[in-house]
């Protein structure tokens, strides 16, 4: 994903906030549903057909005395059965095989082309403006840096309805930065930069979780992402001013004063 290159402008409760019509959550949910429905149908059909065949053509010959498994004396059909010591050849049924293979191929290809079109959107959402935040993973937490130069760790505070673009790296080992509630995720690798984005439609508390084993603290590497209503988010180009607001907001949130603004809670 590449950013639109728009320089940061004031986001102070502005009515001109640009939104994307579909968030990562929307795209994921839609695609997942389609795959789940089709996958379930295909799975049920194939497995049912398999079990049906295995049952329908089960041998009716009784187990003979002293033998473990017997060949039937006569065949009621013209199928050639495997014989001991033969040079193996294939059985009949190739036409059917290719027909079902063809159907499955078309289905899979269709699904993947559809998925690919959504990937192109995800990779390049092209919003008119976006808020860029740099994320750096470390053992065991996340450090953030806003465009105004303000950096913090622990919580991330962002406005709702705004496209937030993340540039992710790591200062030590490999991590993976994911906010499952917003369907944003990317590897955090030392020396490399990856990116992803999200646009939160609901305010509230989300979790930023590490999804790559990164050492003993990995399991507890879960921190908060706080999404505020746009009008509550007070952006400032001055990092000191922003820091002041940030600290106040964090205190207010921790003491429960912002609970009424939270549509989503952990």
């Amino acid at each position: 994903m590449t950013g639109s290159g728009v320089t940061p402008i004031s986001l102070l409760g502005d009515a001109t906030i640009s939104q994307l019509s579909r968030t990562q959550v929307d795209v994921f949910s839609e695609l997942y549903l389609v795959y789940l429905v089709l996958g379930t149908i295909v799975g049920v059909v194939v497995i049912a057909y398999m079990l049906h065949s295995a049952y329908k053509y089960r041998s009716t010959a009784p187990d003979a005395e002293g033998r473990y498994d017997i060949e039937e004396e006569y065949d009621d059909d013209d199928v050639v059965r495997p014989r001991l010591g033969e040079l193996p050849t294939g059985g009949k049924g190739g036409k059917k095989l290719f027909l079902s293979f063809g159907i499955s191929a078309v289905l899979v290809l269709g699904l993947i082309i559809y998925a690919y079109s959504l990937l192109l959107y995800i990779e390049n959402p092209d919003p008119e403006e976006e808020m860029e935040i740099e994320v750096e993973g470390f053992q065991f937490g996340w450090a953030y840096e806003y465009e105004n130069g303000y950096s913090t760790s622990n919580e991330l505070i962002v406005p709702a309805d705004e496209v937030v673009s993340l540039e992710i790296t790591s200062r030590d080992v490999m991590h993976n930065y994911g906010i499952p509630g917003l369907r944003a995720k990317a590897d955090a690798m030392p020396g490399q930069t990856t990116d992803t984005w999200f646009q939160a439609e609901e305010t509230g508390e989300y979790k930023a979780i590490c999804y790559e084993l990164c050492g003993n603290g990995h399991s507890n590497m879960r921190e908060d992402v706080l999404v505020l209503p746009p009008e509550e988010f007070e952006w400032s180009d001055d990092p000191d001013e922003f820091e002041e607001w940030y600290d106040d907001t964090r205190d207010a949130w921790q003491s429960g004063e912002l609970d009424h603004l939270m549509e989503v809670t952990n």
Binding site: D69, P82, G85, P88, L109, L213
Partner: protein, 880 residues
Amino acid sequence: MGDLPPKSSVKRWLVTTNHKDIGILYLLTSIVFLVLAGVLALLIRVQMLDPGGTILNDAGYNQVVTSHGLLMIFWFLSPFAFGFANYLVPLQIGADDLAFPRLNAMSYWLYLFSGIVMLTSFFQGATFMGGWTMYAPLNVPAYIPEFGEIGSFATVLALIIFVGSVTIGSVNFLTTIYRMRAPGLRMRDVPLFSLSILLTVWMMLFAFAAYLGALIILSSDHLLSTTYFSLADGTSTDGGSLLWTHLFWFFGHPEVYIVFFPALGALAEIVQTFSGRRLVGRKWFIIAMVLVTIQSFIVWMHHMFLTSINLEIKTVIMVTTIAISLPFDLMVFSLIYTMIKGKVRWKTPFLFGLGALFIFIIGGITGVFLGAIVLDYSFRGTYWVVAHFHYVMASSAVILIGAVYYWFPKMTGKMYNEFLGKVHFALAFVGFNLLYFPMFVVWETPRRAFHFDAGFTIWHQVATAGAFLFAASFLVMFYNLAKSLYSDRMVEDTPWAYTGSAEWAVSSPPPLENFPGKPSFASGQLEFLGRPEADGGIEGEAATDGGMTADAGDAVVAGHDEHADHASWWPVLVSSAALITGIGLSGLTTSYAVWPFLLAIPAFVAFLGIEGARKDGFLPIHGIYMAASFPLLAGFLIAFHAHHGIASGLADAGMYFWLTLIGAFWGTYTLVGMGYESFDVPEPRIAEQWPFESVENTKLGMWVFLGSDIMLFGAFIGAYIFTRFEFGWTDWWEAAGYTSKAVWPGLLNTYVLLFSSFTVVLALHYARKEQKWKTAGFLGLTFAGASAFMVNKAIEWNELYLNQGWTFNSDLMASTYYFTTGLHAIHVVIGMLIVLFLIARTWNGAYMGEDEAGTIEYYGLYWHFVDIVWLFLFPLFYIL
């Protein structure tokens, strides 16, 4: 060496080189590892019983997760499959044994001992705790807690020894399947299980070589403090993390099919037998498998969709990934259609096959989810992945359990209890799905985290219950098989109806020499052509519809006259040296790292003389070797004294140094002993050998081995080029302060090596003409050339390393330079040691004449290869 002791003797199982014995050893050993890894899995599931489980702490949980994965994938799944492969492939293709029986035994022992090194790591503080993928730089000392450093490195070393076992095994199986098929058995006629093994070992050969490269690089960061993944100050390198993901997944993705293919082959045979129908579209089934084999090497980056690879690469990899799923569609349909119009008997092996197919279909469909990159973004690092790959990889375990029931009667001559077999299946199938299906439901659980959201609790508890049910089902199998072994349910040739392949045409268990006569498909049907010896009485029993005939007059059976050896101590002894050295290296410090191996050089030369004198009678060359070992030893002591001081150095050395020393010493002794042992393995005179009719077994084996060595160097050179690109190609030498790095040492060495290649050719020429002294002389010149190369290199390294202080961990340039050219230097030294052995044997009159000169030719192949590698290294490290 001699004949085999009876099976009741312990010695039998230590010295045997027979493929069936080794198959049994593989099966039993891998089941032990299954139980161990299974217990670890149960620990995970107990921890996950409640959201804040407390039976394991963070380091404990990470160790359990890591070693569960490593043990299951490396020490259970593949070796379990190769237990069957060892036992069955020669039987299925009509061979007496594998091409290189001693090496086969060595594969097994290296496997067992690598597993012991792995298990030892638990008692060295802590085993590796960074996941089976071992992502960098969490895998280097800078990021491993101190209490886990030795154990972590031991795990890496265990994997290296394991790869050694795999590589030897791959060479063996490839040579066997290509060169030792019964007459009339074309490649396309090879039974599907053996064919799946052939494709598996092709993948193993290349994939594991790349993995070996990755593991050696990692070891070097541990032992020699090179800086591929973390710099001298402990910070991570810019490219190291991404480099590891490439190296690892280039191996790791083919590994998925390496694990699955043998099971797939077994499944095809089970479905065919119990459906009483030939496999539908057999030809296409094979083509599909071949396609997967090739494609498996171009999909690895789908494990890296969230790394910094760009959209174009993602697109290509998405396409190849989807393309590799389609052949599996075809195979699944082929298996299902085979049941139609069949005589399907719902015996235990078939139930497991059907159950595994059920599981695999779910695993396959959920894999298509992961192929859609947008979904993969969210699934990454979650239980969706865990559930998916267990549905795929553990389905191969389920198939192989079916294979146990299928071939148990063949291997033991006894029938298992059918009712208990079905009970096992019911418990296992229900347990399996209870265990893994809930993981799809609560897929949002982060993978490898030992706490989870309280809302998921019920599903994790169901999974835990399933895990215990699944585990308990195996107890039923153990009881059933143990009881059946002592039952009176005897089995003759085949207990099953509608079997096809040759293993069912011999008695159960098959005799030591496998077949009652020379097996042949020349008439389009398996026949046993009579052997002249008195044991011809068996052949009548191998009855089918009159296909088997004895033809005592046929002269082509002469191949069976030669006495084949079946017993040797050396495989287990050589491998035990790997065990000792492996454990020793795990705790060695950098300053002591190279010394044990330097001491091994005088030891090797001395042993060449001593053992040679014992074997061939005392010759002047043996005296020369014995005498030469003293100045070499003195040289070693002087060098050691200069670095450590002999008295103080040895006093400080510590246990791990001594262990490594003993291991290296023991290794040289046993290798020399194995080299001098005469071990007769007659090649079949008449066999189906397309496409390698004109290449002897050993030569093909050497070619195949060199193929894997190319991959090893490929990994090294690839790592160098990758690192250099990440750094900035043109700034590279300047950054290291070498604006005008001397070219001439490399250029000189290029000429020296080319010269030594030429002298090997001359040595071979004169060996064929039976001119002993000229042969020895040109081998000597080869040795001299190699020595000159090493001396020149030593001067160069001395200047750079000691005088200019440009050490292994100075910078990335030093690490890649020393380590890549160092790997080549090690190849040169090994080549020099082998030449010494060849000279001693030549002196005794070996290798003379067209038929005998082969050994020198095979050595020549190796030596030319080493020279060609240099032709790549020279421009890469001296000119560009």
